[in-house]
Point group: D2
């Protein structure tokens, strides 16, 4: 296996681990890396002392690592299995492939594409999917194929199956719902567990569902927010990746809330995608550990 | 009527007005003040263009005002009645009297008392009310009478009636629930409409009711908050005065949420009390207008 | 003069006024509007009680206004002159023309263009100016003419004169420096007083000048920020329009500060442009009043 | 050595380490803990890849640790010395002793004392020091000895020497300057390196020195802040522990800035003291690493 270099960085391996807490976990894992001449670049661990679960993310330099990349997983099994670890191994040089789903609103899409274009994100975007034609011209500006799937009550599952097939064909790793105004069915979600990132335009769990800005206006809140989460089969109830808020007051109409909210939405979604791209996220009990 | 001087300020009058929107409201009201030699210190108005309602707060210097303070209300009626105004008239030299209700937690109480003691707030605190003995020593430190009313399921309404009587005797203008862990009955609320300020330890409308930090922890939110609102007969559903938030992460236990939340609670409550003391608040349709 | 309709709104007039404080100002101005059958949509006033200066912004519906738009200024003079008012009169249907200056970084430019494209801002962008070729492809994506002016120490004033001429030809109302990395000379500034909006990538007055993120990193601050201000002949010292901040910590490298800072920069600049477009800004003594 | 239990927690040891980065550091340190039957409660490490410095904080349960507390340091030397580690060893059951210095303003003092009284902080406060009599009554409310040292230009060093002597006598571990309006001389600072915590009422490095709120008002900033830092012999230039900000606008007078600023000051100072109490802080190159 030939290591390709990543822009501005060295080739590194990332391990994400969770397991029942027990003495010696950090010592054992770091000793494995050290013994094989890996230099640790980042290490963050966490113990949920109520649930007694251990979480860890460790990233190390592969430059002088004694084990070839494609054999690391096999070697690590000897450590992982007796300790009942659930683990993922990633390599920094593998560029992830992201599909963007969008409906009629462009603010999140533009924000994503400008990060993509400027090289802020180390990602490939092989396609944009939409249930409407409105954003085709944006996709064309950025030379990204635009696939329109009109969704009706009757054809939804069928269209989703075609979408899944397309994502498979294009080797898509994860999906970003950039204000995609369609509920994803459980069958679709099951294909991409913890790999569909949504942005909901409220400070969850307040204002679940449709028209949250209208609901916030009616309640007279002084702060509105946005929430990015992994999609599960429960509406707006998946593991939260990131949230943020912005102040409003009595002078703000619903339109002002929508306008102010857009800026929070796009930033919250971008940070969530960043965490995912950096392999900083572990999901446990419908909550996220975001490693530093 | 003899005007007493307020610390660091001149004697001023404050009008709070709401009425159906119609042309000429600002011109008419400001002309009334101008004609009688009042100098406007602050003016803020707002039109709810959906509901077609006009809101205004105007404060003017009484130094050379032609109408004696006790006759201003009568004189203003001629303007108010034909325009169906709902209005309040306040004078800056009238120091408001505030009762503080507390249970076992002292952080909001200490914060209130330190503002009171340092003269930050122009307020009198004739009593502290509690359903527990725990905060008596704090009250004694600050030489404020402490009244304990043990509350049981059976004696609640009776005890509340005694509390109301006491508040009446002591000429209490408004009540601050500084983490008072008892639901106020509708009969009590009816005695102090829009004059009971509560602090709820969540970002409403998320996590209404008991144990919001536990609920926030279970949901895995990335931000917690606090909400100060006027108490109505609907639990945690009264008009919101102020909200604020603080970031949390997966390393924070429920205890950490409680600790971080305390600081937000005391600040949010203090800002809400400040707005109320400054006569900056108008309630309309279960929402607040907070004038600048 | 024929009134064109603005998207989603009625035709309105906006007066921005400052003058020595004196009794009766609000009454006189609002009576002028009322007498001529104008309905006030927004009114905000402020008195700087130290400087004794009065500030006001009032916007009213022109639908039934008795004075034709082109005669309002003349009519208002009778009120303004005896009171030494400095004032501006604007009409909502006049779409402003904005030039964007940019160098090599695209995040602010993309953000501006996506707001422009989506109709969030009621503005025309007749050109993009740059001292580098890098952003030409972005301008082309959005079909906006791109003018490159290579700047050297020797040709700077000459090139600026050509820029000014071009802006005049294209009837440009104001200029946005969207991370334009050239100091604008006083001669250029004098042509557009309070009409050049810059974004500086620090929380001014901290870290004036070049490389603020490096300076912030070296100082070990826990929060970084961005500042949007009108450009004056004093570097980074003009009237501040808007600021915001974001948290950083010891794990953040200079590159991380740059990355996190970009998001603050683009939002702060966008809010400043919004205030300017909405005619919400008055400058006085090198400070801004931003009306609500 | 007898281990006393800490409120709500088990006895634990905390190691803070910095040293030149080199392979195997985490493995070696954690193996030392594991081999001696310590269970890691928290571990956070950081590598400054520019300076090539390794930082680590590790906390472990002493319940079954094989080495007695008073021998741990000796045992760890064998690991530390060959790797040129700078390190500190702390035990959770050692309650730190904090002196509070104050002048005429009480908001930070009240905030500190309410946290102390409620048990939020595991700390002892053997004395309050002041250069003025004003806060004596507050100290008396909380039954804490109040020592007044009048400071003049002529007696400053002499008085400071008496203060140092008193702090030594009372076994004070660190000093909190809770709006103490006297510059501490380098001789005093040298006695408590990285153990004097100050709160400065601006967002450093903006507005160093006296009257920062007046300077912020004059500059027309839209956000003000507060900064807590360790005191060094350079005025307001020591390692920053924590900062925070609050929004202001043109309606805010200097008095409003002072009022809003007070709330930020007390919270920022409290968070800085918390980090110090929790042994979360390492100082390196005039910057802080705050471990999670």
């Amino acid at each position: 296996m030939q290591l390709s270099s990543v822009p501005g960085g060295q080739a590194s391996a990332i391990l994400l681990i969770s397991c029942p807490d027990q003495p010696g976990l950090v010592a054992t894992i770091t000793e494995f890396i050290f013994r094989n001449h890996g230099n640790i670049l980042h290490l963050d661990q966490h113990v949920d002392s109520e649930e007694n679960v251990f979480f860890m993310r460790v990233e190390w330099d592969l430059a002088r690592f004694a084990i070839p990349a494609d054999a690391i997983g096999g070697a690590f099994k000897a450590i992982a299995e007796p300790r009942q670890m659930v683990w993922e191994l990633h390599f920094s040089y593998n560029v992830q492939r992201m599909a963007v789903f969008v409906s009629k609103l462009g603010h999140c899409l533009y924000d994503i594409l400008s990060r993509y274009q400027s090289g802020e994100w180390n990602v490939e975007i092989p396609l944009i999917v939409s249930n409407h034609p409105d954003m085709r011209s944006v996709a064309e500006k950025f030379d990204i194929p635009y696939h329109e799937f009109t969704i009706t009550k009757d054809n939804k599952r069928e269209q989703e199956d075609r979408q899944i097939e397309l994502l498979r064909e294009l080797n898509v790793d994860f999906v970003v719902l950039a204000r995609y105004m369609q509920i994803i069915s459980p069958e679709f979600v099951a294909q991409f567990p913890n790999r569909i990132i949504n942005i909901h335009h409220s400070f969850l769990p307040a204002f679940i569902g449709a028209k949250p800005y209208h609901a916030a206006f009616a309640r007279g809140v002084k702060i509105i927010g946005a929430t990015s989460h992994y999609v599960t089969s429960d509406l707006d109830a998946g593991p939260i990746l990131e949230q943020d808020t912005v102040r409003v007051d009595h002078r703000d109409s619903v339109d002002d809330l929508v306008r102010k909210g857009r800026d929070v939405e796009k930033l919250v979604l971008a940070r969530a995608v960043w965490f995912h791209l950096q392999r900083q996220v572990l999901v446990y009990h419908n909550k996220t550990v975001i490693f530093g």
